[in-house]
Symmetry: C2
Subunit: 336 residues, 2 copies
């Protein structure tokens, strides 16, 4: 549930307002439509932090020249199902969408596809591209590196990215879509908890004395959020950075400016596998349904959830009743 102080704005009004601002930035036609749609859909699906709420930051990065609204990702080298693309510092969500679209085409042709993308910008909600693959009947796996924002296990300085990982499996009852960063909590999540005066439900990082803490403000101060699973998430974040940067022949986290408003030139990977390539589609659906059913087991409804389980329901409600938006951010967007 969104916090009670949010107001609900009809999705078409959000889209119209975003399109007006994008037009003033010089984005028109299909590009502007897709860019606005990706922002609004994230909020419609309940991923408020990476939807419309992030639009003001996007606009600032365009105005600062970090994001070039006229640039688009283009292929650099092709080898069967494997391709390397250059994002040319264009809008991150458009670049990611284009590369996942290409990875889907490659999987249609070859059974699987891999598009590695260098020199791109923040993709906003990573789950969008997982859903895009699943909508096409593909298993989609994608991830991005980020600026340094997470200390490796054993270190005190942020030298890793939180490198969100997305895995999507198509499912007629609503796609299963995992979209998770390698830090236990995002900086946005820490800020929200601090403003509400709440402790985190589990330790989220170290305080300035090096003690694990549930106090969000203490973690913001130390800049030492915790990788998921301590040493394990630290290792996994490193591997995601390596694989994306190596295949894209792009920047690793260390070469990305460590400032949310200057973060740019990041590396991403888009993998697709068609479950129908060497298998039977009906059997794949059956296996998915059985696994989800057993995952839920006899739990009280709501106590255990698979990733993406509530998305369809949230989407229906937000389309019917309006999309929750923070009123201060909505005012900011309308004044952009």
């Amino acid at each position: 549930m969104p916090p009670t102080e949010m107001i609900r704005i009809p999705a078409p009004d959000l889209t119209a307002t975003l399109l007006r601002v994008l037009g003033e930035l010089g984005m028109e036609g299909e590009s502007a439509d897709l860019c606005a749609r990706l922002f609004v859909e994230a909020s419609v699906d309940g991923v408020y932090s990476h939807g419309v709420h992030r639009f003001p930051r996007f606009v600032k990065t365009v105005r600062a020249g970090v994001v070039d609204v006229h640039a688009r990702a283009e292929p650099v080298e092709r080898h069967g199902p494997v391709e390397r693309w250059d994002g040319r510092l264009g809008p991150g969500n458009l670049n990611a969408h284009r590369c996942m679209e290409r990875a889907i085409s490659l999987a249609r042709e070859h059974g699987m596809g891999c598009v590695a993308l260098a020199e791109t910008n923040h993709w906003m909600r990573g789950g969008s591209y997982g859903r895009q693959a699943a909508d096409a009947g593909m298993i989609g796996i994608c991830w991005t590196n980020t600026m340094p924002n997470l200390p490796p296990w054993g270190a005190t300085q942020p030298r890793l990215g939180n490198n969100p990982l997305v895995i999507a499996v198509p499912h007629p009852g609503g796609h299963v879509v995992l979209d998770m960063a390698m830090s236990q909590f995002s900086y946005g999540g820490l800020e929200s908890a601090r403003r509400r005066g709440e402790m985190l439900p589990v330790p989220g990082g170290f305080d300035s004395k090096g003690e694990l803490t549930r106090d969000p403000g203490a973690i913001e101060e130390s800049a030492r959020p915790l990788p998921i699973g301590y040493w394990k998430g630290s290792g996994l974040a490193l591997m995601l950075d390596l694989v994306a940067a190596v295949l894209a022949q792009g920047r690793g986290t260390h070469a990305i400016p460590a400032d949310p408003y200057a973060e740019s030139g990041i590396s991403q990977l888009f993998l697709t596998i068609d479950p129908r390539a060497a298998g039977d589609a009906a059997r794949a659906e059956e296996i998915t349904s059985q696994i989800l059913e057993h995952f839920l087991g006899d739990s009280t409804p709501g106590e255990v959830r698979w990733p993406g389980q509530r998305t369809a329901e949230i989407r229906r409600r937000n389309l019917a009743e309006g999309v929750p938006v923070d009123p201060a951010i909505w005012e900011e967007i309308r004044g952009l």
Copy 2:
């Protein structure tokens, strides 16, 4: 460092003893050589829990008819770089090695490869197959599902596998190989800590009252180990199960017997991508070295380590001075 009570046995003696036992089980020739090598190499590389120490359990599963030493994984369906194989309940390490070998060949031909394997057995040390890909110059990603041994986040009964995930990136200075299960600690790790009378360094699960605890015995009793990153590792474990079972058209965790000596018919996935397919090999090596260097930063040596960093050093020492083996397990193996 291995616990002090371990004794050191020369690697050739370990191999000879394992080969004798495998011969008595009916394994001969190249298969027996490879099977023994994979067990011994895991111990040589310092992964004692999944090397020679696990051999008695392997022998028991062969004698119980769970593992068929004469069966080998065979292709079922092929579509370009994507293949589906049937493990026919053969030895898990031989099946995994064969499927990674095939995925490497596919990547040589197509730039990438995917082999999904159904009806196989425990692969012992997953990192072996990551190293196998990296030795061939490939990025290797593989994972396995397991029997139910981990409660989903929000549940009290084990309905997820801990589903180890392996990611390997080739590196001339020693491959970078992550090999991690989705539980914070393995049952083997809990048992070792309990026997040493030690608390875990971080909470590893819930006690029978549902409180997070660092007491390994309390977690063994409740059978509620913790997924890495709480809800995040729970979601990731589910996705790994889904993708492997769907692509292999094999069993999900729920259909795998929940007994370490009967666990069988599991599903695995082997992905390979050739960094040379759409990129330059020298540039890939350079990016890898830069990322590793910045990951270590100015940390005191040993405080921060990348996955696999110590493997070459441990291997050299264990080959020179003998491979650490628990004397009781060594007696057990010699009596098999």
